[in-house]
Symmetry: C2
Amino acid sequence: MAKFLIADDHPLFREALQGALANHFSELTLREAEDLDSTLAALNKDDDVDLLLLDLHMPGSGDLYGLIRVREDYPLLPVAIISGSEDSSIVAKCIGFGALGFIPKSLPSAGIAEAIDTILQGETWVPKETRERLDVISDEDQELARKVAELTPQQYRVLYFLHEGLLNKQIAYQLGITEATVKAHITAIFRKLGVYSRTQAVLVAERLQL
Amino acid sequence: MAKFLIADDHPLFREALQGALANHFSELTLREAEDLDSTLAALNKDDDVDLLLLDLHMPGSGDLYGLIRVREDYPLLPVAIISGSEDSSIVAKCIGFGALGFIPKSLPSAGIAEAIDTILQGETWVPKETRERLDVISDEDQELARKVAELTPQQYRVLYFLHEGLLNKQIAYQLGITEATVKAHITAIFRKLGVYSRTQAVLVAERLQL
DNA sequence: TATCAATCTAGACTATGGTCTAATAGTGTT
DNA sequence: AACACTATTAGACCATAGTCTAGATTGATA
């Protein structure tokens, strides 16, 4: 009896994936989540989830932040990344940051089932095309990912806007808080990332493609 | 009677390249340069150079700045990039920014001669391994490169240190000028790049891998 | 030589960024 | 319930960033 959690903001895709899985797995319990917060909440409630199917692009989080965050909180949970893109450098980063598999949305349902079987056996699965191009993630990037995982969701949002090149005033408006609070968050981000200016913080975010 | 300009800071490599070329081209005039300034000076003096062999890593300039700069000043001059690395994304960027060829230093001399023959005929030459991976450079990146080419050498140096995450005070010390001057350069950089904060300027530099 | 244009330089001034301190609210623990 | 711990909030204060103005230098050109 397998229990999966599907985290994807697209209801139609969740439904399609559910259909594909139901055909392949006879006994199956599915949970759903539509953003990072509800994903973490679901994982917190259900401690016996066998596999997380995690969309890369989720509202309220940068591309890799969701994965990094989940890996930090639940290091033993198998995670398969679901993504519309299949750029090999993205695939490499996902695997490097601890995902067991990378499943492109373009994959037909039989392929998806096969990929998930592989992953449930504890093996890595990535699309054929990218199988030979898995550049290793450097130790420094691993270290940076660990640091980014320490950011709170609000701090992460601030870092996101920082990375967009926004002024503190603009970030404050976007998040509906005062500029003073934004500054406090930024100072906390600096501490956690081990940098001392917004420029360096942005470079860290850029390096991890957050 | 061909005339080439070799721009590489490594005297030994210039010599080796010279030997390889002399064997293949019967009539050959060679000019040499060891940094970006002397390269531009040599091009300015000799207006009948047939080919520039340009090292990617040159003292006093970021990786792509030399190419961007030369292409801006001499758009008709064929340029072959010489480089120790042969990372496909770098190759793609060089070709995208107007180089006709990309010659890895690891190539045996017969291969180098063949590559240069191809380039002199006006065709593009890149290493076999990267031939199928030449992602196109986006229009925005082309536009950004055009803007970066407008920077003066000193402004470029400031942008370089900006991208390292240095404070204005530190940049001033590195360049031996006052902080006020650094600020003036930074304002000029903003104007030319069309941005309004150092963070955004750094993101532009990052995007072009300068 | 005179002159125009561009670059480099820098001081004075204003806006933005960043630190320190501290209060509030939520969370899990004993 | 009392406790420690952490996230979030923000005001006051100082440092850094960025703009405006302007003089000095260089190089090309008439």
